[in-house]
């Protein structure tokens, strides 16, 4: 049966099985390919999106569980203040190598900084260790998160 979902502020109707993971609705049904497939089992974080602001692994999230919640993906995260700041920090710190995991990294980092504008190293470890980067950009991800956090606390 057709389901309604709200992605990046826009409502969509999709006709897929209830248990279809959100990831495939985004990528294959709606053509939003910025969210990546890495493992299919919530082990790598490449598919991280926000559901009502919470970082969520789209590969194991059934579409029927979304209900009225707002889904935000990498395609729209730059429209948020924190997301834009994170993206800029990513470019300034020249974080990216192959780039395939970075949508998920940026979504995880944005969720972290939205929730906790001044994360400690240990906060960063906790929030980011679910996201695998096979190229090994972790040191720069950490540096970019710290850069993005500068000034965030003050602005509230």
């Amino acid at each position: 049966m057709a389901l309604s979902v709200k992605i990046n502020g826009k409502p969509h109707r999709v006709d897929v099985d209830d248990d279809t993971p959100l990831l495939w609705v985004l990528r294959d049904v709606l053509g939003m390919t910025g969210t990546k497939f890495g493992c299919g089992k919530a082990l790598c974080g490449a598919c991280t999106v926000h559901v009502d602001g919470a970082p969520t692994r789209a590969c194991v999230t059934p579409i029927s569980s979304i209900g009225e919640s707002a889904v935000t993906t990498i395609e729209a995260i730059g429209a948020t203040k924190v997301g834009a700041r994170v993206q800029k920090a990513w470019l300034d710190a020249e974080v990216v190598q192959c780039g395939y995991c970075q949508s998920g990294q940026i979504m995880a980092a944005t969720a972290l900084l939205t929730d906790n504008p001044k994360p400690s190293d240990s906060d960063i470890d906790d929030a980011m260790s679910g996201n695998v980067c096979r190229c090994g950009t972790y040191p720069r991800i950490r540096a970019a998160i710290k850069q993005a956090s500068q000034g965030l606390g003050k602005e509230g």
């Binding site: 049904v29 390919t33 990546k36 493992c39 395939y100 695998v132």
Partner: protein
């Protein structure tokens, strides 16, 4: 028009007459005379195109998979052509080994082996400098002035009078100029771009989700397929019950091949659900009982007798009789999967009269040939669209995925994207070979090594990948890092024995041969230092009188790391040194070993001499990333086979290093006037022995096999 079509079309235009096209086309390996009379000789190595519209295009023979090559190769061209980096547009080179073969990889059109900068360094700068010279001459002719009074600057030719013309406006005239017979390259002192931290060109689209990797390909009417391949290497499909799979909403078709079954669906969710609903009975074939233990047993047996001598110095192993002390050890390293984060995928549309392939590949011409072979079509009917790759590490030097996708697509009406699940990606990888090494050394009364004997056995990837490269039982990759050591041993013998594991496909993996040899060599030299009761850095240093570049990186890394300082209990500091991929590297690693035997790498200090630096930020990034890749392998990497099946399947059983485990990584670059060396791979091989040697320093336990086994390091209760 696609990238591929554009570059083909532009070459055709050139062949039809450069003047008519209004463009200037230049190539690598420029013929130095008669080029204009012979269009073929000029056109074939086409890498640079300047359009009448002012577009400066680099037709890029190497693929971007994270190593930063789109930026650093573009920097080489922009430097000599005198254009801003931002002005350079890149197109993937189409499949054509004659035009785009990699001279450092026997002419195969391949991105790998840390060769892209090395292969481009002279040739691409010469091509760009020749283009610049022709543009200058054309402008001088138009203005009827002495070319010596004109210069190239920021995409324009500027006359001493101040008048100027943009490259696009003069391109047609430049195409009519003779190719210069001698080309003056800029001297390094005048570089504006080379050596700078130029920003990467490929990153903006990678932070907003807009970049299109192969897996992101979308075409009208495209279906998505996923597959199950025989879980046992070499097995076949006996029977398939697919009624439940066909009943899954969105499943369109089941494709049965000899050794695999694919589910074709509207989306990956349905394809995966359909795959799970399939009941497949397999014929396990001849490898049903295969195990990695059997592979290692065979390697052990193979190394009991002599191998093919790869290098011999002095009396070789015969010199052992004169040694005061003999040290012996056996090492082994496991099979490894690539586990690039973008799972294997390939999109194919097979029509009666042609085939189109969308894929990210390190070997685009081989991808084309693979599709042609499966379809029976001639090469010119197969179009391959190359893409940015979400991690290569050698996996995309193979075209098994293209072959498989075309086999499936042949049975599908319309385009189909075949996507491997992570489990299929790991269990049907082509693996970094397992190796076993027997080391023997003889020391004199002062503990100095007077003889070094290294004998090892394992798969030769080259023998399959590039058969002419395997000669008289040897290939250059397998022995790389084991021969031509920086250390001066008066007697040395290195022997290799090719042993192919039955059924288990092997392939290149980041750092290739040295990913194994450097671990063994640098661990064993550490053993010798310990046997001689000498400091590991001083022991190595005493052997480097004929290798000043190696000595310099060792000195720099040990100084920056604070070598010799005392460390807290449970921690240790280890060193490793290598000279591979044309670069010299030393690393010092600090580790902490917990009571339960778990290892945390706390800090890595790296000194590198990779010749002239093109982009220092890229070098640092590759060393950081390569270190993480190598630490991952040292601590976790192992593919094991039981009953013919790979036992690991996803990131829970084939673990990756994560944010909380990553050490501080410092990179110190030695200033050098030498030609650039490779940088994508050296850190991966260097860090593994540095970590193992640090563990020895912390615990007194010598690890002679990877990955690290915490049970061995566990403190006694």
């Amino acid at each position: 028009m696609t990238m591929h079509d554009r570059s083909i079309a532009s070459r055709r235009r050139f062949l039809a007459g450069a003047a008519a096209s209004g463009g200037l086309l230049l190539g690598l390996s420029l013929p130095m005379s008669g080029a204009r009379a012979n269009g073929e000789a000029f056109a074939p190595n086409a890498f640079i195109r300047i359009g009448a519209d002012g577009r400066v295009v680099l037709i890029m023979p190497y693929v971007e998979m994270g190593q930063g090559i789109y930026t650093s190769v573009a920097m080489l061209m922009a430097e000599e052509l005198e254009v801003d980096l931002a002005q350079v547009q890149l197109e993937h080179a189409p499949p054509n080994e004659k035009l785009y073969g990699n001279p450092l990889l026997a002419g195969v059109q391949a991105t790998g082996g840390s060769t892209s900068i090395r292969a481009s360094w002279k040739a691409l700068r010469e091509a760009a400098a020749a283009a610049r010279t022709m543009l200058v001459t054309a402008a001088a002719e138009r203005w009827k002035v002495d070319p010596a009074t004109c210069r190239a600057e920021a995409g324009k030719i500027v006359h001493a009078s101040g008048r100027s013309v943009a490259y696009g406006e003069i391109a047609a005239d430049a195409a009519r100029q003779p190719v210069p017979t001698s080309i003056a390259l800029k001297s390094p002192g005048t570089f504006k771009l080379i050596g700078t931290r130029a920003k990467r060109l490929d990153t903006p689209g990678k932070v907003d989700g807009s970049v299109v990797y192969g897996i992101d390909m979308r075409l009208p009417g495209m279906k998505i397929a996923t597959l199950a391949q025989s879980p046992v290497f070499g097995g076949t499909v006996k029977s398939v019950k697919d009624s439940a799979a066909r009943a899954v909403k969105g499943v369109r078709q089941i494709v049965r091949l000899d050794d695999a079954v694919a589910v074709v669906a509207d989306h990956m969710g349905a394809a995966r659900k359909g795959l799970e609903a399939l009941e497949i009975e397999w014929d396990d074939g001849p490898h049903a009982k295969l195990s990695t233990q059997a592979v290692f047993d065979e390697l052990k047996q193979a190394t009991a007798g002599p191998g093919v001598v790869a290098q011999k110095i002095g009396s070789g192993v015969d010199a052992l009789s004169g040694a005061v002390t003999k040290v012996e050890a056996t090492y082994q390293v496991p099979f490894l999967a690539h586990a690039a984060l973008e799972p294997m995928n390939c999109t194919v549309h097979v029509r009666k009269d042609g085939c189109e392939v969308w894929v990210g590949t390190q070997v685009v011409a081989r991808a084309q040939a693979a599709a042609a072979k499966v379809t029976g079509l001639p090469l010119d009917k197969v179009v391959v669209h190359n893409h940015l790759i979400g991690g290569g590490f050698g996996r995309r030097l193979e075209v098994d995925g293209v072959t498989r996708a075309v086999q499936i697509a042949r049975q599908v009406d319309g385009p189909v994207k075949v996507v491997w699940t992570r489990e299929e990606d790991i269990q049907h990888d082509m693996y970094r070979p397992a190796w076993l090494d027997r080391m023997t050394a003889g020391l004199d009364a002062d503990g100095r090594p007077v003889v070094w004997h290294h004998r090892f056995a394992g798969s030769s990837v080259i023998a399959r990948w590039l058969p002419p490269g395997f000669n008289n039982g040897l290939d250059p990759d397998s022995i790389d890092g084991a021969t031509q050591l920086a250390y001066g041993f008066p007697n040395l013998q290195v022997e290799y024995k090719r042993v192919e594991p039955p059924g288990i496909p092997t392939a290149f993996w980041r750092s290739v041969g040295p990913s194994h040899t450097v671990f063994v060599v640098e661990s064993f030299i550490d053993e010798l230092a310990a046997a001689a009761k000498q400091d590991p850095v001083a022991y190595r240093r005493a052997l480097l009188d004929k290798s000043p570049r190696a000595k310099a990186v060792l000195d720099l890394a040990s100084a920056k790391a604070g070598w010799g300082q005392s460390l807290p209990k449970g921690t240790g500091r280890g060193v490793a040194l290598q000279s591979v991929f044309g670069s010299y590297m030393a690393m010092v690693a600090d580790v902490e070993v917990a009571a339960d035997g778990s290892v945390q790498v706390r800090r890595v200090v790296c000194a590198v001499d990779c010749g002239i630096v093109v982009n220092p930020d890229t070098i640092e990034a590759q060393i950081q990333g390569g270190s993480v890749f190598g630490i991952t392998a040292a601590l976790y990497g192992e593919i094991t086979v039981k009953d013919g099946r790979v036992e690991q399947a996803n990131f829970d059983t084939y673990q990756m290093l994560r944010m909380n485990e990553v050490p501080a990584i410092e990179v110190h670059i030695v200033s050098s006037p030498e030609s650039p060396g490779g940088i994508g791979e050296p850190a991966t091989s260097c860090v593994m022995p540095a970590v193992a040697n640090a563990i020895f320093a912390a615990t007194g336990k010598r690890l002679r096999r990877l990955p690290v086994d915490p049970a061995v390091l566990k403190a006694p209760a």
